[in-house]
Subunit: 539 residues, 2 copies
């Protein structure tokens, strides 16, 4: 019954990503011939080869800047070569990739510096303050909201602070079940270090293979198993942060009434308040068993109601996802998405739910029985473990497919939001309608519920439409329409992708002008000269 599909071994740690594609270049795939035919039939092929041999803009840093940075981190850790700077340009949103593909490297940093520890990060910030350099903290480079595209006007240069050398497991407390990690650890690296101690963090966003501990904290990340393990902000018990005004060390107890929870002010601060240099997280014992299974629902509404019942009964499994009718149909059409019983379920309509349980075998068994009893009672049909296995197998692969679609000239992107249960139908309809209206037919809008709470859930949309050379401008129109629809419905502009620069225009609607004023006040206090990720997060 135990099925461990997670590529958690240290060997799974990926290297540098391609500057205009996702992930490990060795895992890039062309569209299968059948899919290519489908894409051509629906959208038309309008292949967009990336511009080759793009020149990276010249670094504007003066010798004095470089000398000061070298004094802070060591000469060999200040890199100004084109290849390194190209790889630290922007993140991995579709607009980011489209710009890189079109040869626009205007956001390339002037230098990449690689501090070894907290003290060196602090030294870099001091240099940046003195020389008025903009600083962009860089973890896995997987931002999909423009979080790495800082403003450079008004600065003497822009420096990417790459945390790639800060990869230590600093402390493990087996009694308190906490671990202190450095921010540069990628997901699989952190899990490998913890696994050697018999522990697991349990944080698996789609970017897991590349994203880092520091990035999870800075963006309030949520993972595919967060129903069971908790969102990253719930996993963090302590933070150490380097700021231009000194160090913050937060987290003296599991819970406290000693004023506002300042940890929750740094979580989600996206490099605009400081650079996170240590993260102390709650850990669990490595699960002895993992089982993922599929359930079929007559409709998205039925499946969502079942999720709500589980959450409000305190019966959440470790993984709980529900695809709408559109996403289910696409998923079932992919030959690798359904296993042995694919023929039967592939022909069925309705919606696919993935339910996963991780933990000790007896607890997994008990919970699985209890959850199955509720789901069966509410009209769900069990599909066995094959759909769960298929989901687990491909859980980190969607961004590779996006690259293939972009190659074919199809505009593909995702966006997500969250709301309270009573507003889910309104939000779902509003975002779908906004996207279809903005992009026109043919337009494919898929949705799944990716995270579930007692009081509500998140909706994760995938959009595909004809794009070709107009992809970037078409996406910007669609993104604006969807974001307007989200805020009009009273939902959050982002449940787990952060604000970056892309969501910044909608933040005042969400937290109010006064909320933005508070963020500005905090930033002004911690970063009085405004060197930290200028223009990111704070409008």
């Amino acid at each position: 019954m135990s099925t461990d599909h997670l590529p958690l071994e240290p060997t799974a740690v990926a290297g540098e990503m391609h500057p205009s594609r996702w992930g490990d270049p060795a895992r890039a795939t062309a569209l299968p011939e059948a899919a290519r035919g489908l894409v051509e039939a629906v959208f038309g092929l309008d292949e967009q080869p990336a511009v080759a041999d793009v020149v990276v803009p010249r670094s504007v840093l003066a010798p004095a800047h470089l000398d000061a940075l070298r004094a802070a981190v060591g000469a060999e850790q200040v890199l100004v070569d084109d290849a390194t700077r190209r790889l630290r340009t922007r993140g991995k949103s579709t607009p980011d990739l489209l710009r890189q593909r079109a040869g626009d490297l205007s956001d390339a940093p002037d230098a990449v510096v690689r501090p070894a520890d907290h003290a060196q990060v602090a030294a870099v910030l001091a240099v940046a303050v003195e020389h008025r350099l903009a600083v962009v903290p860089f973890g896995g480079g997987t931002s999909v909201t423009g979080g790495l595209a800082a403003r450079r006007e008004g600065y003497a240069g822009l420096v990417s602070v790459d945390l790639v050398r800060m990869k230590r497991l600093l402390a493990v407390d087996h009694t308190s079940m906490t671990a202190t990690l450095e921010p540069g650890l990628r997901g699989p690296e952190a899990e490998a270090l913890l696994a050697a101690e018999g522990l697991v963090l349990g944080h698996y966003p789609q970017s897991f293979e590349h994203a880092t501990i520091g990035g999870f904290a800075a963006t309030r990340s949520s993972g595919q198993s967060s129903a069971g393990y908790g969102r990253f902000d719930a996993l963090v018990v302590g933070l150490r942060v380097a700021t231009p005004r000194g160090e913050l060390r937060l987290g003296s107890a599991p819970a406290s009434a000693a004023g506002p929870d300042l940890r929750q002010l740094l979580l989600g601060s996206e490099g605009a308040f400081g650079v996170i240099t240590e993260v102390t997280v709650r850990v669990r014992r490595l699960p002895a068993e993992k089982v993922y299974e599929g359930w079929r629902w007559p409709s998205f509404t039925d499946g969502a109601a079942a999720m709500r019942t589980l959450a409000q009964a305190g019966l959440l499994p470790t993984v709980l996802r529900l695809s709408d009718e559109h996403e289910t149909a696409i998923n079932l059409a992919r030959p690798d998405a359904i296993g042995a019983d694919g023929g039967e379920s592939g022909s069925a309509s309705g919606c696919l739910m993935v339910v996963g349980h991780e933990g000790e075998p007896d607890l997994v068994a008990a919970r699985r029985t209890a959850v199955a009893s509720v789901l069966t009672g509410l009209g769900g049909t069990p599909l066995g473990e094959e759909p769960g296995r298929a989901w687990a197998h491909g859980r980190f692969d969607a961004p590779y497919l996006r690259d293939s679609m972009l190659d074919a000239g199809v505009l593909v992107e995702t966006l997500e939001t969250a709301t309270f249960w009573s507003r889910v139908p309104t939000l779902y309809d509003a975002v779908r309608t906004a996207l279809v209206d903005a992009l026109g037919e043919p337009c494919l809008v898929l949705c799944h519920i990716s995270h579930v709470y007692e009081t509500g859930c998140s909706l994760y949309f995938t959009v595909a439409a004809a794009g070709g050379s107009r992809s970037l401008e078409r996406w910007q129109v669609a993104k604006t329409a969807a974001s307007d629809a989200i805020t009009r419905t009273g939902a959050t502009i982002t449940h787990h992708h952060a604000v970056g620069t892309d969501h910044r225009p909608w933040l005042p609607t969400e937290v109010g002008e006064l909320g933005v004023s508070v963020l500005r006040a905090v930033k002004a206090d911690l970063d009085p000269t405004g060197i930290l990720n200028p223009g990111v997060l704070v409008p």
Copy 2:
């Protein structure tokens, strides 16, 4: 099996508290004769009758101030009589009570104003800004950390903003399982309104009968059933706050990555950033069953290890408390604390644990069995429901006993903290030693673990020592020693009593000078003229 001891009926809502005693005057009790003898034998009797007919300082408000306040809330809602102002003087810490008993009413507000809604609160703040009046938000008046003792120097007067008229249940969302409550609702009032909808909030601090929804939010309160229902900060999904710079409305989704969680910056803000005017909370269905039972452990260490096991296995009951050997002995010596099997357990040594389960009968039964299995396996002895019933019966009564002890001249006070599991023994010893050293023998220090998390727990200490006319100064010495011991150990200065003025000196140690600077920056932004609860929370 079902045992509902909670006085949750609307009739349980208490009226005004006595200015220098806890709670409902009708429930005040003299020390039982046996206890009186014990107190005399241990500490000596040094009865301290309260000073009678204390004159309340004259209100310093000018007619123009009063007119402006009357324009904001209506003439009949601006009260300057002595009785009303006496009842809004300070909170209910032992130093607060000792000062009132000694006739010191120097902290009495100059006026008590009673706004009816958010708009009137905003209007009062505008008047306060214009006339430079200090504003103290007043809910249940149960602060035990000097949270109502604002600084008045530099202000034209001090106004208590009594939220007693803001007691509406504004909205219920049965689908999302949320409710929006006004801040002036006391615990039993809120539960009665929710019970009429079949819902429960489940927040039962010891101050439950008097404390208010706004106070729970402003102080990051934690309740006796928070293991099951969650701390108050975890129950809050939305807040509306009136500030001198306008309104904050926070909480667009169950969870969000749209920057830092500003809700968590207002929770615990203790009236220093704004006045909370609406609180949207997660609610649950009224539990059909409640059962509380006792368990005996050979030692505090054994019991604490069992709690840790339950928390880390994800098996927390609704209520989980463990008294140390000293508290257990005192508890068992009280004839009303043990029921039918009291003879047997009363003669036993060791430590008493209370385990409570609330919910649907089948879930209660399943969880009870699972918890009992773990506890038995770890060496716990079940004592049946009588000790649980006794605890539930007296769960809100300790402050009445304190009054009786203070009458007898015995210094009695409580303090609490929290830390990670691995530091619990060090913290426990450090605080005990600090208290005994500061107060000298005879000195009774009792402790229980009041709240449990995966990564740690809170320790709640009760201290009794000879005091008499020197009670106030002796307590200040002991409180300082205990607080120094707490921060030296790296624990939090308060797990659920807030900072107020009493814990303020230790806040910089806990969050750092830079953390304090951030709090100052937020306050300066929201309250630029500094009228809100001056001197509370922010050092």
